[in-house]
């Protein structure tokens, strides 16, 4: 696979290094001569000095046969233009842009960029995950269709602890695909798999059902009767009793 990395800063450098290790053909495009030299010295002849937004550079470096363009400069606007021109003028099948302002994710998507990666958003999500009132983290938004992969940590007090997956009233179009226990061991669940305290639940859901899903997995048990079946639990619709309480 031929991948072109636009931007030879820290992200571009380490990205190229890792990709070379996995036997991809990689080319880094970087404007700054000193950065180019450093990359050439350490990684070999895989760097081209030029502006990755300029059509002449793009032609010279073979955007036309690239399988993937990954724009990782520090400037969102440059990453956008590299990817857009790659798509429109060179028909590159896959474009990935680094973004700094997390709000640009929606814009980039709307403007045809296949995938965006935001360190800011990732760190924010990590912080939010650490906070008890934000136990749901979006891992990946699946392109088209409005589905996403999310992770929810099941608190020790949650009513779902000790229940089997088939007993849960998950919202529509939601499915649990992976459980990771406190020790970090993953389990691929069946309908009989039991939810344990502090499990990290990875699920596919629809964005509008995120809150209901979070509520199902984190709502406290009404009266703590660990392990015993609560007959009223599954009797009403998914949206009813699991609406998060006390959230503004």
């Amino acid at each position: 696979m031929y991948a072109i990395v636009v931007g030879g800063g820290k992200v571009g450098y380490y990205l190229a290094k890792e990709m070379l290790d996995t036997d991809h053909e990689v080319l880094v495009i970087e404007k700054d001569g000193a950065k180019c030299e450093r990359i050439a010295q350490e990684l070999g002849d895989i760097v081209y000095k030029g502006d990755g937004c300029e059509a002449a550079t793009m032609e010279a470096t073979g955007f036309g046969r690239a399988d993937m363009v990954i724009a990782v400069t520090g400037d969102d606007e440059d990453n956008l233009v590299s990817c857009q021109v790659a798509k429109v003028k060179f028909d590159v099948p896959r474009t990935i842009a680094r973004i700094n302002n997390p709000k640009n994710e929606a814009i980039f998507r709307k403007l045809g960029i296949d995938t965006t990666v935001s360190a800011t958003a990732a760190i924010l999500a990590q912080i939010e995950q650490e906070l008890p009132e934000h136990p749901l983290m979006r891992l990946l938004t699946l392109k088209g269709g409005g589905l996403e992969i999310v992770e929810v940590k099941v608190p020790a007090f949650a009513s779902v602890v000790g229940r089997r997956i088939r007993e849960l009233m998950l919202p529509a179009e939601s499915i649990i695909v992976l459980l990771v226990d406190q020790a970090g061991s993953p389990r691929v669940p069946t309908s009989e798999t039991m939810i344990l305290t502090e499990d990290e639940v990875v699920a596919v859901t629809r964005r509008e059902n995120e809150d209901s899903l979070r509520a199902v997995l984190t709502a406290p048990a009404p009266v703590a009767v660990p392990g015993s079946g609560d007959p009223g639990y599954g009797s009403s619709g998914p949206a009813g009793p699991y609406e998060p309480s006390g959230r503004s």
Partner: protein, 141 residues
Amino acid sequence: MKVIIMGCGRVGATVASMLDDDGHDVTILDTRIDAFRRLPAGYRGKRQVGNGIDQDTLARIGIREADAFMAVTQGDNRNVMAAQIAKQIFGVRRVLCRIYDPIREEIYKGLGLETISPTLVGARLLKETLDREPAPAGGES
């Protein structure tokens, strides 16, 4: 007409002043406050400090009510990005975008932006002027 101009360089300041003279409601945006020194003393429009590729900034300075948006910073890519946000996210009716690089200009014209490449316009104008014989200067001996 309510017009937002992004970039208070020579061109931005000049077009802002012209539109202001014509009685339009003009807002000019720049990341640096000292850029506004280029505006003439009589300019009555608004001055806003902020980054035009940030949709929050654009919303704050009233892009939702704007009839036109012009992107005239020094950076082609900044102009292209801001113009697309104005058009695609906020649905501004007229979006004008300056792009120095003629190739990028052609690409984004193809994507539906109203683009102007001063490089092409300037070069053509120079060539046409050269092609025309000047009127006899008279002073020559």
